[in-house]
Amino acid sequence: MIDFNLILPEIFISLTLMFLLIVGVFKKNSSSLIYNLTILSLLVLLALVLNLSHIEEAFIFNQSYKIDNLSNFMKILTLISAIFVMLTSSKYLKLIKIFKIEYPVLILSSILGMIVMISSNDLIVFYMGLELQSLALYVLASFNRDNLLSTESGLKYFVLSALSSGLLLYGCSLIYGFSGSTNFDEISLSISNVQYGLTFGIVFILVGLAFKISAVPFHMWAPDVYEGSPTSVTIFFAILPKIAALTVFIRFLYVPFINMIDQWQMIIIFLSIASMIFGAVAAIGQKNLKRLVAYSSIGHMGYVLAGLTTGTNEGIQSSIIYLSIYLVMNLALFSCIFMLRRNENYFENIDDLSGLSKNHPVLSFSMLIILFSLAGIPPLAGFFAKFYIFKAVIEQSMYFLAIVGLLSTVIAAFYYLRIIKIIYFDPEKEKYDTDHSIGLKLSLLLSTIFILIYFIYPNGINDLVSKINII
């Protein structure tokens, strides 16, 4: 008998999204009602997931669906960031006139896909979650359909993502052919010696996953899509799919293929080094803030992958902590971008920040904190994130990786500091509007406070993460 309590969150979210669609069809002008209901249902969902969080390990559906500490932590992370993303973007959606009933519904279905991905213990379940998640994201990227850039970004993401999905599926079929099962645990049992077929399958699946977290050399879509999509979707892109993809990375590499670490370790090291260097160098010449964030997220993904190369629990935990802190910093940065609004127009170029400190001292100060944290300057949260990664990497005596990481941190610090220079020392511009929604102010406040005081009590998150033991 299946214990349906274990998948209560998934059932609830599917029913909610169908219910919201029906409400949207039969009630006229119900956009804000549905938007608020979505936030409410995300809160209920969070409660449901928290209710399951005491479970150490549980399987359902013939071992293909797994609930454990990793999945619980990642689900909670996903839902909290989703709530904040929704809180920040309601006013933006209204002002650029894409406040439609379908927007929250698509967000919800994408979150359902992510939750399925996070819990998957089977190649088929993982692929279905991935497709559900990305299908909603294609539509969201081109949601502002009258805008040429937005439609272009949606199409670009769709075509490239379909290609990467094809490669990923091919990898799945190879792994199934050579191991005889799609279940992660059974695959790990059936591997006796190194087989070329399995290595090949791993490579293909890693290509597909690296595309999803935009690691170099599969990053080409990221800057264009980040720039073209509506900002509310860009923040979604920058935060949520990375959580799900990282979870699958961890599960896929560390459950079935931990014994083949010699085969995949070099690939992850390459992805990590290339992403760190490219993210640092390519961001220097950018003029658009959203493009800059895209390159910086490529760089940050490099650090997250560096933690995964180690093959130890400490490495995984450092990656998860890095990702959590990265999410908070990105949320804060995007909240700042949302605040650059004058007469119902949003500004997203770096020049628009010029002299911000004269008119908006509080906003500039929080941007200062966020950018310092992104650059990794102590004692802010971003420093600790990098510190844990380097600690885990050096413990495995992978000095080359650590040196490259440190060097690219220095390069990346340049463009973060340049923005601070523009904010504080360049000639000032017109004042921006200050009548922001409470949700936006709240998310900026909470995330900035988190970045500031993380060093006082780092064990709050670290203890939670240290429960995640994969190997």
């Binding site: 559906f61 379908e102 949601f143 005889g180 087989q195």
Partner: protein
């Protein structure tokens, strides 16, 4: 057995050749027709290995719906005249050598992989599938679809729902000044307001403009 081999190689050859022709042929409509041919020969291959359900679904879904949809799109967008020049022109063809090199490397690696598989026949035995030969494909699918794979089945339903919502969001536009039928109004019309009894005087007529 020899007949089996002859059929297998015929269909595989058709499949490979038509797959190449899809990319090479200059006329887009021809490409779509080659795609259909490719799907048909692959479905024949499926039927040959005893997967008749998969083969038929392939025919119905891919040939019957997807390929015909492609054909419609190609004909409606009028891209027939556009020439497929990537193999000819010098300016745009610079990516061809690198692409060929990479695909050749992948091709040879695949040969190594499949060669390795062939020389180790014990690998196939490790695949533990208990397929009963008495059941038809459709039966055995039916046994697992709503039991072991119910979550995947429901999830694919949600994927289709999202695809539908997405298509509507991206294409549906509300037009102003459009006259629509209101069933509720039509049905709720009463006799009293719909019919008027008038006494008509002889040779005077009646004014019906209400």
């Amino acid at each position: 057995m020899i007949v089996h081999a002859i059929f297998f190689y015929t269909f595989s050859l058709i499949a490979v050749v038509s797959a190449i022709m899809v990319t090479v042929s200059k006329n887009t409509v021809h490409s779509v027709f080659f795609l259909i041919l490719d799907f048909i020969s692959i479905s024949c291959l499926f039927i040959m290995i005893g997967a008749e359900f998969l083969g038929m679904i392939m025919l119905i879904v891919y040939v019957g719906a997807v390929a015909v949809l492609f054909l419609f799109v190609v004909m409606m967008l009028n891209v027939v005249q556009q020439k497929n020049t990537s193999f000819e022109s010098d300016s745009d063809g610079k990516h061809i050598p690198i692409g060929l090199l990479i695909s050749l490397i992948i091709f040879f690696e695949l040969i190594i992989v499949i060669g390795g598989w062939k020389y180790k026949p014990d690998l196939l035995n490790s695949i533990s599938l208990n397929i009963s030969s008495e059941l038809t494909n459709t039966h055995s699918l039916g046994y697992v679809l709503y039991t072991d794979y119910i979550h995947l089945f429901q999830l694919s339903g949600i994927i289709l729902l999202v695809a539908m919502v997405g298509a509507i969001v991206l294409t549906f536009r509300k037009r102003s000044g459009l006259k629509r039928q209101s069933y509720f109004k039509q049905i709720s019309r009463e006799k009293v307001e719909g019919v008027d009894l008038v006494t008509v005087d002889s040779k005077k007529g009646v004014n019906i403009d209400v």
